[in-house]
Symmetry: C2
Subunit: 396 residues, 2 copies
């Protein structure tokens, strides 16, 4: 019989998807160039030419049997080694191939990480604002998601609320820095304080608490800064990565989990994830994508457009009078709406062909998200429209 | 904390993997050409040149943003339509794009199909002999796997045992024809009888019973025959397919579920599978693989070597005195061992560098599997060795 739980999910629509579909339909009417579509987090720059060249070279010159054979379920050994080396070089870690589990994007990485370190009924703590899919990612593992309310001052961690939420059932804590939707990068001080608190709680509760660090935006940071690498600060860390944003390859579905070599059971955690794969039908990412990313492991797309767009938008939003924290990375910005009901605010914006996403689903009502992974020209053209909108609707 | 259930799985080793690893290690010692490795079901012929050409053309001539963008979680609409058309043409079905769910190989297809039509505690019936991974595929959905013993006469369905096993909790029945490990193709009579019985039981129990048809070997059939398409005979069928064997692309991880348009809730089942994806981190197969297979949808690799190998092996096994049913497809053959304990039999064969897999894990003790997806030359060279083995060890 058809599973009723999944069937019920069909009635709950994603606001992001709904707005994105509206934008596409509206674009068909008035020309998509006239729709200021800030709904979707789809990279707007091509993958590096090196990636394309690597694939063509592989298909032209290598034995098809070699490149299309089964990959081991933990990933191709050589590729896992290359990922480990690259992380060691960049973040001063000491991973070996055995600590790397190749995954089908960050979604696949998280699906394995959660299952590896929790059992049904355990609690996983998430900090608002957060990517709405975390709800479903966690719910289907059988674990329970607990939300720590946002610190809207600077979108660093609300530690007081965190201490009130953490308890003996907490087996994992999920962070996402640089953050979707706020664009905020956790400071080194935040990560240190988090690590200190988790270490204290591990001792107090007498069990491991794993830090699951969702890092797809790790390479998109602004002002020439670097994003602190959480695993450097806390041993029980599983770093979940996707090449979707840094290489503009969301369709390739390729990422990994990197297990801190000092984590409990570090040597078997990737193998455990291989077992998890058997049950969830994952069975490793595409072999050719694994081979290709390993050849461009230390490069990225030209990501500078995101910083350019952020600066234009941030300055304009501040000028218009919005309350907004300046993003340190990603391609998102997260201002406070001009009325309490962010849904109403975004519906009004729609009339001006400004597609903004209200943040109730991100666990932060009253705010809205703009995904500025679009052409800079369109960002610039959207500013006068935005000004007209806030002036006419809110008298600003 | 680390999940103890998954951790325990580490102690259970796969005999196939163990033997395959042994074969590789032994090959390093004496030259792999001297190891008659019948352990692994890895295709031994290259993918069609048309596939390689399609990928190169795509990378050389199409916009990287277009080919590497997010695929919708149900698959790329155009690709789903091409799959539907191809199935309609070949099997006289009337699928539309909405009935096709693109999946990460057959493992991904099954992971979604099981979850879509069962709830935890429901029973799924499997017929021995079966692919050992079904245990884990099913267990992790929360459903319970019930095994119908093999009909070792011809490896068609043991209907008497099936009728004794099916009950009100049976929500799905899993078949795999052409079959791994027996190589047997279910006859039209078998499929008809199965459909009739399932229809009767649906009525009796007052609920749907879905037929989950695992069909990765559908295109590898011998003697110019065709494999009956189960969905043609039973409405509540989910056909699970992988391109791994027909296009020799196991590393690409690409397949689909095709929902019979007359199945209960046919129009939403693929959408339900999209919801399931959110929880298990699947999120669609690689976009470029989807686009490439859609361009060679009606072609296959040159699969003739498998039939050549089967005939050589079958004749030799019969000549040596083995009890064996002639395979109708796949690249497996499944003889009865020459002693009751197939493990002992296979361990003795190992001494002759003949790598055979005992079938206890396939739910059929006393038999062994040979995967003859290897060079025909090696198959021929293995025969005298096989004869020496059975003569010296069993006096045949």
């Amino acid at each position: 019989m058809i599973n009723q739980d999944y069937k019920k999910m069909l009635t709950g629509k994603s606001i992001i998807r709904e707005l994105s579909e509206y934008a596409t339909a509206r674009g068909a009417e008035i020309g998509y160039e006239n729709v200021f579509d800030y709904s979707l987090g789809n990279p707007s720059v091509p993958c590096p030419q090196g990636y394309t060249d690597a694939v063509i070279d592989m298909y032209q010159n290598l034995d098809p049997m070699a490149i299309h054979g089964y990959s081991p379920s933990l990933g191709i050994e050589k590729v896992r080694g290359i990922v480990a080396d690259s992380l060691n070089q960049r973040f001063g870690m000491d991973y070996e191939a055995k600590h790397i589990f190749m995954s089908i994007g960050a979604a696949g990485a998280l699906a394995h990480a959660f299952r590896a370190v929790t059992e049904p009924g355990d609690e996983i703590i998430v900090f608002a604002p957060f990517f709405p899919e975390y709800h479903e990612y966690i719910r289907h593992t059988g674990a329970i998601m607990r939300v720590v309310p946002a610190n809207t001052q600077d979108f660093q961690i609300n530690f007081q609320a965190f201490e009130e939420t953490i308890n003996e059932k907490t087996m994992a804590v999920l962070i996402n820095s640089p953050n979707n939707p706020s664009g905020i990068v956790y400071s080194e001080a935040t990560i240190r304080k988090l690590a200190e608190l988790l270490n204290k709680k591990q001792q107090e509760y007498g069990h491991d608490i794993f830090l699951v660090s969702d890092e797809p935006y790790r390479e998109i940071v602004f002002d020439g800064k670097k994003c602190p690498y959480p695993s450097k600060y806390y041993d029980n860390t599983l770093s979940c990565y996707s090449f979707s944003k840094s290489l503009s390859l969301p369709g390739e579905r390729i990422g990994y989990v990197a297990v801190n070599p000092r984590a409990t059971d570090a040597d078997v955690l990737a193998v455990i994830m291989g077992q998890i794969s058997r049950g969830i039908g994952h069975n490793c990412p595409t072999s050719t994508s694994q081979l290709a990313v390993s050849q461009v492991i230390n490069t990225t797309s030209d990501l500078s457009v995101y910083e350019t767009n952020m600066n234009i938008l941030y300055d304009a939003l501040v000028e218009m009078g919005f309350e907004v924290v300046r993003p340190g990375g990603t391609f998102y910005i997260f201002p406070k709406a001009l009325e309490e009901d962010a849904n109403a605010f975004c519906m009004k914006a729609k009339k001006y062909d400004l597609i903004l996403v209200p943040a109730d689903n991100f666990g932060c009502p009253g705010y809205f998200r703009m995904a500025y992974c679009i052409d800079t020209d369109k960002v610039k053209r959207s500013i006068p429209v935005f000004k007209e909108f806030v002036q006419k609707e809110y008298g600003l």
